[in-house]
Amino acid sequence: MRPKLNAVGWAGLMVCLLAFAGEGQAQAAVLKLEAQLVWGTDDSKPPAGKNYQPVQPELKKKLKDLPLKWSNYFEVNRKSLEVKAGETRKEPMSDKCEILVKHLDNSDLEVSLIGKGKEVMKRRQSLPRGEILVLGGNAPNATAWLVILRQAE
């Protein structure tokens, strides 16, 4: 026996089908991200024995435009992440800390920082291409650590 739907029923069915279609498209989208661990300092050189390179001029300018007071920024580590919509990727930035990125939808992310197994920060952020998200805090000897997240070129 064929189901009978009135106008409201058909409208509801269309909405559901569209919702699932949209869901399917979102699931396929992959976001390619880059995460950099950066050390902010007034020293002109990295610590002895460490081969950190100065960050690229374009990034240094972006950091200088933010209310950060350090003169120099050195890249400690750089990681690439590919995250499908709805999925979470975890990437260690150093021996004892990690970044967790959940791809919510389009360029919406949920970003967490984990230090020694403990979540220290979680936020939701829209990160369109060309924009950066900088998470930071004070480090010993009046320096700073920064984790910079952006879409990969």
Partner: protein, 197 residues
């Protein structure tokens, strides 16, 4: 209860717990300035402070059954108003981005390098004038620093209690309190410098 104005707080509280509204009104009259002062110090806005204290009094009436005299009634009410202020400040913080000054407060470690202030900030000042200067100085701080100062200096809370109220670590309380004190000293010294120029 015949003469409310001469009754002790305890008696008024007992009466109010039994539904005696005039007894509660007498308690409001006795403690309203202190509560308002605390809310104003935290919020830096007259209207908000008035609204939040009124909300605190309404909650106080509703929760009278939970007051068992572990602290004084005034202290109990002050804690209600502090929590309302903290909730409001957190809500406001989530809805706005911070000013550059506020970011610099937290990111610079500047308080460690501030020269020690050697001029006594209160010397030679009338009470009213000193209050105005402290008012201005408090208004220039971020809410986190002002709050930790209020809770420690006025509410006389220990670091552990402040950490619980502000939902942060004891280390954060210590560094914020240190910054707030040093910034206050520097601001008061600057204001004094302005006198002589």
């Amino acid at each position: 209860m015949k003469d409310l104005s001469s009754a002790e707080d305890q008696e008024l509280v007992r009466a109010a717990q039994g539904g005696d509204m005039p007894a509660f009104e007498e308690l409001v009259a006795r403690h309203r300035d202190k509560l308002y002062a605390r809310a104003y110090t935290m919020m830096r806005n007259e209207e908000e402070a008035i609204d939040l204290t009124q909300e605190a009094w309404v909650k106080g009436w509703q929760r009278l059954g939970q007051f068992h005299g572990e602290s004084s009634f005034g202290t109990w009410m002050t804690r209600i108003v502090i929590n309302l202020c903290l909730d409001q400040l957190r809500k406001q913080k989530r809805q706005r981005t911070e000013s550059l000054d506020e970011i610099n407060e937290e990111s610079g470690g500047v308080e460690r390098q501030m020269p020690v202030v050697t001029v006594n900030p209160t010397a030679g000042l009338e009470r009213v004038e000193l209050r105005q200067r402290i008012d201005r100085a408090l208004g220039q701080m971020s809410y986190e620093h002002r709050t930790v100062l209020v809770l420690h200096e006025f509410e006389e809370m220990e670091y552990k209690q402040i950490a619980k109220e502000m939902k942060c670590s004891i280390g954060t309380v210590m560094s914020r309190l240190f910054y707030a004190r040093r910034k206050l000293a520097a601001l008061l010294a600057d204001l004094r410098k302005g006198d002589t120029q």
